[in-house]
């Protein structure tokens, strides 16, 4: 237990350190003046601003960010208010997308796997791999086309674009969850198949366990710890897709706000949004690591 606590602390400290480096890099990159140039003259590299100037500006920006000095108004509102409002919307999208992706992925993975039989599952696997290779724009276009077709048939549960009601969030959540779901489905199917090859599953079959009992008591129990390894990867997948999903569905979340800050040349606003998105990534990744360690792996196993 002590070893496990020590390992967790080390991991936490290293994650925080990586996050601090990431935040500093973001601020440093955004502190480089727009007219910054580097020229080559008389065998020397000459920059229009010295490294010292840039680092001084970076430090000033960090100090002002840390002190919460972000009082510019944006369309008549305080920027912090805007950011907290957008953060809430984005978190709804991200968390729902991740949960839906995991649930759909595990169900599809169980369906895809051969469950110990020797019959082929090529077609089922193909149905998982195809969505992985589709560009996000195509997936979104298909979903929006489907919503338009449904609304023509008086089914108005899905809204094609916009924000404000739960119905507006449904399609963005589905669009965000498709890629992670395909990834989780593949990982699930492979880990289920590898578990079915283990002798302890054959012994369970030989003991007369029912198929359901074998799947849940022996296979999924062991497969879940392999699946949990893949959860961290879906965090990055889903955050990468966030911008395109929010933009295409006109969902006023953090990613669209980032685009607006960019349009208005509001560097400080951009920095804050990027750091918030980074923090979301690190927190979600931390949660998945924690889940992997404490939920899917036996504490005793870790102690050896």
């Amino acid at each position: 237990m002590y070893k496990l606590a020590k390992k967790t602390c080390i991991r936490l400290v290293s994650s925080i350190a990586i996050f601090i480096i990431f935040a500093y890099m973001v601020v440093a990159i955004c502190s480089i003046p727009r007219d910054f140039t580097v020229s080559f003259s008389k065998g020397k590299l000459i920059s229009s601003y010295s490294l010292k100037d840039i680092s001084t500006k970076t430090n000033t920006n960090i100090t002002s960010l840390v002190s919460g000095n972000l009082t510019n108004t944006f369309k008549g509102k305080n920027q912090w208010e805007i950011l907290t409002e957008k953060l809430g919307k984005t978190l709804i999208l991200l968390i729902s997308g991740i949960l839906l992706g995991i649930v759909l992925g595990i169900i599809k993975g169980i369906f895809d796997s051969r469950k110990g039989t020797i019959k082929d599952s090529h077609y089922k696997v193909l149905l998982t791999i195809i969505p992985m290779s589709f560009p996000d724009l195509l997936v979104i276009a298909v979903l929006q086309g489907m919503a338009i077709w449904l609304s023509k048939h008086n089914i108005t549960i899905f809204k094609v674009a916009g924000h404000g009601t739960i119905n507006h969030t449904l399609l963005p959540i589905i669009a965000l969850s498709i890629l992670p779901a395909s990834y989780i489905a593949r990982v699930t199917a492979l880990s289920i198949e590898s578990c079915y090859n283990m002798d302890y599953v054959k012994v369970a079959m030989g003991k007369g366990c029912s198929k359901t009992r074998i799947l849940w008591n022996h296979v999924m129990r062991n497969a879940l710890s392999i699946i949990s390894e893949g959860l961290s990867s879906i965090t990055s997948l889903i955050i990468c897709n966030l911008l395109i999903v929010e933009f295409m569905f006109s969902y006023m979340g953090l990613a669209v706000t980032l685009v607006q800050f960019c349009k208005n040349n509001d560097i400080r606003g951009m920095v804050v949004v990027i750091i918030i998105l980074g923090a979301i990534y690190f927190i979600l990744d931390g949660i998945f690591q924690f889940t992997k360690k404490f939920v899917f792996q036996s504490l005793k196993e870790e102690n050896i």
Partner: protein
């Protein structure tokens, strides 16, 4: 003595398919195997890797469906019964696998592992699970305190003991021991073999003992079947096989086994060549490319198992009854 298991003309053919799903080859992993295992006795199956010993075991357990042939458990053909009835019958046939590291579910405690068969087959009442788990652990020489531990907390030999305890939990009539000691240290092997022998005497259980090593087979078996490329080439009482081997393959196998006495000098008779691929087995007698006394007939005609004397049979054109 009544037979607990009777196997008749058991065949298992695996079809190899290409990525496009087209059948390319057929492998006869088990090819017309027949034998009986009497109550309370052990039949040893010996042969090189890939000769079909383990597949035979899996066919009896019905983990693999046979292509043809019959398997009778106390006179009932287990290939002809319903899935539901098979699940009930599984209580009587259990297995101990070769690799004790892979045979125990790593996420279950020993108590869970041992009580699972108790609950599936309702061997004892639920409130007696703990007592029964302790009894089983004591029977295989483990402590009651071990019940709360996970498999990774045990050594290979201890894990195999847990595997044996799990196998005997349902009070089976027949246990398939699939190379139960080959993954263990030599020092632990004899402990496990003695444990299996003691349990057989105590519980009157029959074994199908699959192994590579002739010494282990001799120590454990009452009857021995020698397998080569999916077929039994010689079968008989242990003393017949070891003192009076008839098939050239059995003779070479016995000849290549080490003798634990350095003073005995024996003329080595090495087996020539490799085991042929089961995808393209040789014509006639499948042993002919490696046989020292092969003749023209061996290439063309497959020999039948012929009776040498009571209970002793061999499949060779040049073996005859005494």
């Amino acid at each position: 003595m009544n037979n607990i298991i009777e196997v008749r003309n058991l065949v298992k053919q695996f079809e190899l398919t290409s990525k496009l799903g087209l059948q390319t080859h057929c492998v006869k992993a088990v090819n017309g195997v027949s034998f009986d295992v009497p109550e309370g006795e052990t039949l040893g199956l010996v042969g090189e890797s890939g000769c079909g010993k383990t597949t035979t075991g899996k066919l009896i357990l019905r983990l693999v469906k046979p292509t043809s042939g019959e398997i009778y458990l106390e006179g009932k053909d287990i290939n002809k019964i319903s899935k539901k009835e098979m699940r009930r019958i599984r209580k009587d046939i259990q297995v101990v696998f070769q690799n004790p590291y892979a045979a125990l579910d790593p996420k279950m405690t020993v108590a869970d592992i041992l009580s699972e068969p108790l609950s599936i087959h309702r061997i004892v009442f639920k409130y007696d699970y703990d007592k029964e788990v302790k009894r089983l652990l004591n029977l295989v020489g483990l402590s009651e305190k071990d019940a709360k531990k996970f498999p990774h907390e045990f050594s290979g030999g201890q894990r195999q003991r847990i595997g044996i305890a799990r196998a005997i939990a349902t009070r089976p009539k027949f246990i398939i021991c699939d190379e139960p000691v080959s993954a263990l240290d030599v020092s632990v092997q004899s402990q496990i073999l003695n444990l299996l022998n003691d349990l057989q005497k105590e519980l009157k259980v029959s074994y199908l003992f699959i192994a590579h090593g002739l010494n282990v087979i001799r120590h454990m078996s009452d009857k021995v079947g020698v397998m080569y490329l999916g077929k039994i080439v010689e079968i008989g009482r242990v003393e017949d096989i070891f003192n009076n081997p008839m098939h050239p393959y059995t003779k070479v196998l016995l000849n290549s086994a080490p003798i634990p006495d350095p003073t005995i000098i024996r003329e080595r008779q090495a087996i020539k060549g490799e085991v042929p691929s089961p995808i393209t087995p040789p014509s006639g007698c499948s042993f002919h490319p490696r046989c020292n006394i092969a003749m023209e007939i061996c290439k063309n005609k497959s020999p039948e198992l012929i009776k040498i004397n009571e209970g002793h049979k061999a499949a060779c054109h040049f073996c005859s009854a005494e």
